[in-house]
Structure formats: structure tokens, C-alpha cells
């Protein structure tokens, strides 16, 4: 079995086109239904009902919203820079919808004409493609803020550019830890390496995952990092002047970024489409054949793709991505918004040095393990898990001690509690 049949050019192009259309449609559908999920979950969290009138459980609400947004009036502020005002939403949505292309979403699918990779484009630079394109997303936001010729929108745009540049650094550095352990930048290989390690990267690289989660929240402008929109301060920031479908495009872009970030977290840290505790789904292209791993002597163990495994792994990937989508909503309706200087403080003075130190630690541990001749496998992963676990606990302890992120409320209570002993017990000792 193990041998694989390569697709001819005709079928490669055909399947490529089908995958592009299918993935785009699915991502857009998930985006539409995530708006509904967000409203329903927020209603659940706040003990309300949420939209439940259009269709069963409100399931047709996104369609109704879509129709509403298309037929609403498009407003154009008289003082806006017209060309850039229209260009803004287009630039915002473009990077959001193309980044999903390099994420593998299932095990390869066998067909009569050859095996089809379940990824739109397996480009050799993998994760760098996502980082590069998502770094362009800020143009749409900044330009629309500037072109609106409105002070609130302008401030929103400025905040967006400062925030995205700051957290891109932390995001990149947290990915470097993954690159060190995976040894390559393509996402297909990262899934394979996690299968070989026998551990999802979230365990050996727990701190990197925390950094990635925080930075991804900041990069997608979601609460508690939605400084560019901050309703209570900036009306709605950069899209204050937008209406109808142009306004909707910013929302589609934001949710598409959330979907990609969730899928990315699932792939980088939770094994991608890997099904836990079952080596049967492990699959990788090795010297022109499908293999499941290497036996004791280092010889490859052949395997063959099957439709059932593809469907099961697709379900696993969807479940993991779905969990992170829910987590995004959950965080949004649980945490309050940071103050702007706190966001900058966290990005530059906490995450950046901590991520750099963590990379040194992980690289050092890996060097020691390699020098000791520990093979890439369970033991290797467990040692890194122990090291990362201790570091993560230390980091959380440090961050949680009120020194790094201290809200106004906590400051007042500490000052009050510091003032009380001076008047209370201290006064008593002097009197006695």
C-alpha cells in the first residue's frame, strides 16, 4: 500500500479550485454563524435570551443581518478622503480571507486519481505566510481611520497601528519557540512533528501558548484589547463613519481573523487535525510514500490514507478550532477592557522580554537534550514539559502579583490597606 499516486496537473488544478471555493465558503459561513454564536453566548453569560426570532433558535439571523446590511444606505461623509475611505474596508478584508489557505484541516484524502492534501496551498514558508499577510491587515484599519476625517476614527486608527506593531513582535517570538521544536515552518510538518513527539506542543511549550493566546487576542482587536474600537472612549473608533456593507466588511474581517487565529492555535499547539491517543491517523509524506512513523531501527512504517481517517481528523480539527472560537467569545464577555497604557506596557515590557528569555530557555534545554542524545519522542517532550511548566508557573506568579498589571481598583485597595495599619495597630502601640 504505502506507495502514493501523484495527482496529474489537471486533477491538481481541479482539486485546488474545489478546495479554494470550499474553504472560502466554509470560513465565510463560520464567520456568519460566529456573529450569531457571539450574541447567543453573550446573552447566556448575561442571563438574557439573545436573538431567537428569525428561524429556529435564531439560526437565520446572520442571513437577515446580511440582507439588512446590503440594502441599507451607504453613507459617505462629506469631508472624507473618498478614495481611501472606500479602499479601507477592501484592504481590511483581503488579508483576513486569504490567510486560512496554508492551514491543513484534515489528513490527506484518497481519490481514484491520487491523494489530495487537505490544505489549500502547502507553501514552503507556511506560518510566515500567515504572519506576513496578517501584518498587512492594519492598513485597512489605519487608512479608514485617517480617511474618515473624524477625530475618534483617527485615534482608533492610530491605536490600531501602535497595538498591532507591538503585539506582532510578541506573536512572532512565541511562534519561534514552536519553530525550534518543529524544526520547520510549514504547518503540515508541525502537525507531523507533534504526532511524532506524542505530545501536543501546548505541553512542552506551555508558556509560548500563553504568549500566543494573548498576542492573538491583541492582533485580532478583540476584548480585552479592543482599544481601536473602545466604544466608551472612541464611539466605535476607526469604523465610526462607516455604514451598511462597508461597516459589515470590517466585522467580517475581524471574525475571519478570529477564525484563522483559532485554527492556528489548534494547529500550532493542539496537534492540528491529530486525534489524541491514536497513532492510526499519523500520516506524512516521506520520500514519495505515506508513513506513520519510524520503527526501532529507523525504518519507515508505511500507512495509507483512507476516507474515514480524513473525516475523523476533519472532525477533530473542527472541534479544536470551535473550542478556540468559543474561548474568544468567552473571554470577550468575561474580561473588562485594558487601559491603553496597560496594553503597551504588557506588550513591550512584559511579553517581549519574557518571550525572549523563554526562547533562550527552550533553545538551551533542547541543546542539552540533543547533546545527551535523547531521541525526539515522549521523554524529550516530557523534559521540556517540566521545564516549561515551572517557567509558566513562575511567569503567572510574577504577573499575578499586582506588580506588572495593576488595575486602578487594586491600587486603591492596596493604598487603603497600607494606610490602615498606620492609623490602626501603629496608633495603638504608641498609645500603650
Amino acid at each position: 500500500m504505502g506507495e502514493m499516486q501523484e495527482l496529474s496537473t489537471f486533477w491538481f488544478v481541479t482539486f485546488g479550485a474545489v478546495k479554494v471555493v470550499a474553504v472560502f465558503t466554509v470560513v465565510m459561513a463560520v464567520v456568519a454563524y460566529m456573529t450569531l454564536a457571539e450574541r447567543r453566548v453573550s446573552a447566556f453569560i448575561q442571563d438574557r435570551l439573545g436573538p431567537n426570532r428569525v428561524g429556529p433558535f435564531g439560526l437565520l439571523q446572520p442571513i437577515a443581518d446580511g440582507i439588512k446590511n446590503i440594502i441599507k444606505e451607504e453613507t459617505m461623509p462629506g469631508t472624507a478622503a473618498k478614495f481611501y475611505f472606500v479602499l479601507g474596508p477592501a484592504l481590511a478584508i483581503m488579508p483576513a480571507v486569504v490567510t486560512f489557505a496554508v492551514i491543513p484541516f484534515a489528513a490527506p484524502l484518497p481519490t481514484p486519481v491520487g491523494t489530495v492534501d487537505m490544505i489549500v496551498a502547502d507553501v514552503p514558508i507556511g506560518i510566515l505566510y500567515i504572519l506576513a499577510l496578517s501584518s498587512l491587515a492594519v492598513y485597512g484599519i489605519v487608512l479608514s481611520g485617517w480617511a474618515s476625517n473624524n477625530k475618534y476614527a483617527f485615534l482608533g486608527g492610530l491605536r490600531a497601528s501602535a497595538q498591532m506593531i507591538s503585539y506582532e513582535v510578541a506573536l512572532g517570538l512565541s511562534v519561534i519557540a514552536v519553530l525550534l521544536l518543529a524544526g520547520n515552518v510549514t504547518l503540515t510538518e508541525m502537525v507531523w512533528k507533534q504526532q511524532q513527539l506524542g505530545l501536543w506542543f501546548v505541553f512542552p511549550l506551555s508558556l509560548a501558548f500563553i504568549f500566543f493566546l494573548i498576542s492573538a487576542l491583541a492582533e485580532t482587536n478583540r476584548l480585552p484589547f479592543d482599544m481601536p474600537e473602545a466604544e466608551s472612549e472612541l464611539i466605535t473608533g476607526y469604523h465610526t463613519e462607516y455604514s451598511a456593507m462597508k461597516f459589515s466588511m470590517f466585522f467580517i474581517a475581524e471574525y475571519a481573523h478570529v477564525v484563522t487565529a483559532s485554527a492556528l492555535m489548534a494547529t500550532l499547539f493542539f496537534g492540528g487535525w491529530d486525534i489524541p491517543f491514536w497513532p492510526g491517523d499519523d500520516m506524512f509524506r516521506h520520500e514519495g510514500a505515506w508513513i506513520r512513523g519510524f520503527d526501532e531501527s529507523g525504518a519507515p512504517i508505511p500507512t495509507s490514507p483512507s476516507v474515514l481517517i480524513t473525516l475523523l481528523t476533519l472532525a477533530a480539527f473542527s472541534a479544536k478550532t470551535g473550542f478556540f472560537l468559543l474561548l474568544y467569545i468567552w473571554i470577550r464577555w468575561t474580561l473588562p477592557r485594558f487601559r491603553y497604557d496597560q496594553v503597551m506596557h504588557l506588550g513591550w515590557k512584559v511579553l517581549l522580554p519574557a518571550a525572549l528569555a523563554y526562547i533562550m530557555l527552550i533553545a538551551g534545554t533542547m541543546l542539552v537534550l540533543d547533546q545527551l542524545g535523547v531521541a525526539y519522542g515522549m521523554l524529550y517532550g516530557l523534559v521540556l514539559t517540566a521545564v516549561s511548566g515551572v517557567t509558566t508557573l513562575a511567569f503567572l506568579f510574577f504577573v499575578d502579583r499586582d506588580r506588572v498589571i495593576s488595575g486602578a481598583h487594586r491600587k486603591r485597595t492596596t493604598r487603603a490597606s497600607a494606610a490602615r495599619p498606620a492609623a490602626g495597630p501603629a496608633g495603638r502601640t504608641t498609645s500603650s
Binding site: A81, Y84, V123, P124, I125, L128, Y129, L131, A132, L133, S135, L136, V138, Y139, V142, L143, G145, W146, F154, G157, L158, S161, A162, M164, I165, E168, N184, V185
Partner: protein
């Protein structure tokens, strides 16, 4: 197909470069520059230099140009720009420089030298292809960078650090430096 894409990217790159110079508002110039950088990245992809393309977009288009835009917006240069436009002898000098550069390039890529370059290029390309298969798209650049050229690489980093320190010193208000 590749030729059509190359011509498309090349036209956008050159058109964008012209746009940067003749663009009236700073924001327009900046967007033209982003278009040029993105097209050059596209040309890199056509040459199968994927890593270079990603870094081009990530560093230049995604970080440096965003900072430019940030500065333009922060100083609010986009709206009342006509007073900043300058013409005169500088534009004449720029024409001379462009002409000289074009001449040198044409000298380099035409005739015998061009043919030699093409012939040499084929062998170099084969060597690069072999290296990419062995080390991956990133390793093929990272490996020499951190072994053969590590001193130059670190010195370059030091140079940038000096520039950053200088910028901080210049930006500091007078009198705040002491103590």
C-alpha cells in the same frame, strides 16, 4: 503563465515606484510604495524565493511602512501638503541619477555579460534547488547567515542599535538627560 504574472508584477512595481515620486499626498506615495514592495515580493515568489518574499512583506510592507504611515498620521502630514512640495534643481539631479543607473544596468545585462550571467545563473539555480531540498526554504538562507556571515550580521545589528540609541537621545527633551 509565469511570464504574464512577471509582466503584471513588474508593471505594478515600476508604476508604483513612479507613483511614489509623483504622488501628491504623502499617504498616496506611501501606498504606492507598499504596492511596489508587494509586487517585488510577488516577483520573488515567481523565482521560488518564498522566504525572501515572506520577509519582504512581513518586514517592509507590514512593519516599516506601517510605522511610516503611523508617523505621517501622527504628524498629520496628509492633509495640507502643498507647502512641502519642492521642485527645481533636485529633480534635474534625480533624472541624471536615474539615467546613469539605467545605463549601468543595461550595460550589465546586455551582450556578452548578460549571456554569461544567464549561463552562470542556471548552475547557481541548480545548486540553490538542491540546497532548498536539503535545508528547507528558511535554512538555505539562515545557514550561511549564522555561520559564514555571522560577524557581518551581528555588526549590522549593532549598527541598527546605534541608530536606535541615537534616535532616543535626539528625541529626549533637553535637560531631561541629566540625573
Amino acid at each position: 503563465m509565469t511570464d504574464i504574472l512577471f509582466i503584471l508584477f513588474a508593471v505594478v512595481a515600476v508604476g508604483g515606484a513612479v507613483g511614489v515620486v509623483v504622488g501628491r499626498s504623502p499617504v498616496a506615495s506611501l501606498l504606492f510604495m507598499v504596492a511596489t514592495l508587494a509586487s517585488v515580493a510577488g516577483i520573488y515568489v515567481l523565482f521560488e524565493a518564498h522566504f525572501l518574499a515572506a520577509i519582504q512583506v512581513l518586514v517592509y510592507a507590514g512593519a516599516i511602512m506601517v510605522l511610516f504611515l503611523f508617523v505621517i498620521m501622527l504628524l498629520n502630514l496628509g492633509h495640507d501638503y502643498r507647502a512641502d512640495l519642492r521642485y527645481g534643481s533636485w529633480s534635474l539631479l534625480s533624472l541624471v541619477v536615474v539615467g546613469l543607473t539605467a545605463g549601468v544596468l543595461m550595460q550589465g545585462f546586455s551582450g556578452d555579460t548578460g549571456a554569461a550571467l544567464l549561463e552562470n545563473g542556471a548552475t547557481v539555480a541548480a545548486a540553490i534547488d538542491a540546497a532548498v531540498i536539503e535545508k528547507g526554504a528558511v535554512g538555505v538562507i539562515a545557514d550561511p547567515l549564522f555561520t559564514d556571515y555571522v560577524v557581518a550580521f551581528e555588526l549590522m545589528g549593532l549598527l541598527l542599535l546605534v541608530a536606535i540609541v541615537a534616535a532616543v537621545v535626539l528625541a529626549k527633551p533637553r535637560g531631561a538627560g541629566e540625573g
